[in-house]
């Protein structure tokens, strides 16, 4: 999920469409075309390495920042069962972040650099986590819609040409299914509940639907990296195709809940065999990506504070490990 490819500044031509003319570059493209997998120590074009570092780390940052909106409700979950489930889900997100950071590190970038890029604002994370979780129903909507969109996006990444990324995605996809189901279960309970609960579910859907559609990134015609990423086997399905697939599977799920999609233009198109849906407010996405979403500042502050407040723990653990090593050496000597 979470790799909208929007961390490109206007005029960023750092990664031109290339297949290269050198023997190494052509051999590399040949391997991709044969559906071979690329492993960490294999030769790869610099653009491929850069694209992957950018995409995998953006993905990892999103998992980590993604813990914040849900963490907001751990202490206020309505039952012990819901609380245990939410804790397990948030733990999974931490785990996903760690799998992905490890995959990125195989490309020769250090963890410290990656964290620094997030904290300095140089690296982006998914726009979706800059929206607030104002009611318990938001936890349901996130699981159902945000994780649902994530699964849609991530399944093709399990076949990504870069081995460590693909393997991390396989682990993540196995775990995401629980996330989506627990979210839908929350929405189901609310939509079968009192009028107030049903209204809460509808309100959450109203607020999360459009931002969830934005998670797939800009429309194909405005997606600067897509063509190259497709050629390199990093991306397998286009943003718009994935978005359409998500709409098609989600609309019947909303109908089952008895909730109404907040889109007057949404209608089944018999000829296309897909749902038509209304225009996405790209300006909103642009604003959220550039730091002006409802929660950008508090999310970044939470990450920076956590990193700064944990510094003494990281240093103490290292000092303790070094002391014990020295003591063991002395004893042996």
């Amino acid at each position: 999920m979470y790799t909208q490819g929007l961390d490109v500044k206007p005029g960023d031509k750092a990664i031109p469409l290339e297949s290269g003319t050198s023997e190494a570059e052509q051999g590399f493209q040949g391997r991709i075309d044969r559906d071979d997998r690329i492993e960490p120590k294999d030769w790869m074009p610099e653009g491929y390495r850069k694209t992957l570092i950018r995409q995998i780390s953006q993905h990892a940052h999103s998992e980590v920042v993604g813990m914040l909106p849900e963490g907001n409700w751990i202490t206020r979950a309505p039952s012990l069962r819901r609380k245990a489930v939410l804790l397990a889900k948030v733990q999974d997100e931490a785990g996903h972040g760690l799998y992905l950071y490890s995959a990125a590190e195989t490309l020769g970038v250090s963890r410290a650099e990656l964290v620094e890029q997030l904290l300095s604002g140089k690296a982006k994370y998914s726009s979706i986590f800059n929206y607030p979780t104002t009611t318990w129903a938001d936890i349901g909507a996130i699981g159902w819609l945000v994780d649902g969109a994530a699964i849609m996006n991530q399944i093709p990444l399990c076949r990504c040409s870069y081995g460590p990324y693909a393997r991390a995605m396989i682990r993540i996809c196995k775990e995401e299914s629980f996330h989506q189901r627990q979210g839908y279960e929350i929405m189901l309970a609310l939509s079968r509940g009192s009028d107030a609960q049903k209204a809460m579910a509808q309100d959450a859907l109203d607020r999360w639907w459009w931002p969830s559609l934005m998670m797939f990134g800009p429309s194909d015609k405005d997606s600067p990296h897509s063509a190259q990423s497709m050629r390199w086997g990093i991306k397998r399905i286009s943003n718009d195709d994935l978005r359409q697939k998500f709409v098609d599977v989600t609309v019947p799920q909303a109908e089952y809940l008895g909730l109404k999609m907040p889109d007057p233009d949404l209608a089944w198109n018999e000829a296309r065999g897909h749902y038509d849906f209304g225009a996405i407010d790209w300006e909103e996405l642009k604003q959220v990506i550039s730091g002006n979403g409802p929660c950008n500042k508090s999310r970044m502050k939470a990450r920076r504070d956590a990193h700064a407040e944990g510094a003494w723990v990281r240093e103490a653990a290292l000092a303790h490990a070094e002391k014990r090593r020295a003591r063991a050496l002395k004893k042996a000597g």
């Binding site: 492993e39 120590k41 294999d42 030769w43 397990a88 733990q91 999974d92 785990g95 760690l98 799998y99 490890s102 995959a103 590190e105 195989t106 250090s110 963890r111 410290a112 620094e116 460590p164 393997r167 991390a168 682990r171 775990e175 990193h307 700064a308 510094a311 990281r314 240093e315 653990a317 290292l318 303790h320 490990a321 014990r324 090593r325």
Partner: protein, 95 residues
Amino acid sequence: MSSRDWPLFEVFIRSRNGLSHKHVGSLHAADAGMALENARDVYTRRAEGVSIWVVPSTQIVASDPGEKDAFFEPTADKIYRHPTFYDIPDDVKNI
């Protein structure tokens, strides 16, 4: 703020007795004990393992993918190491 990363460890997990340990990924930890505990929390949240090995990544010695063809060349032309190389009449049973 220290920018020094904890050392990197490679993690291997035996999913059940009778199977080998298999590489699953890597993680950072201050020492081997912490690496084991972190590996448990990161890689076995759903009972994926009964045994974990952690190895400092710097201790792994790997073959060079650039030398792959030369390195594995000696095996390529020895198809007589495979049972299908030998012609045995169909009439001969249990072989």
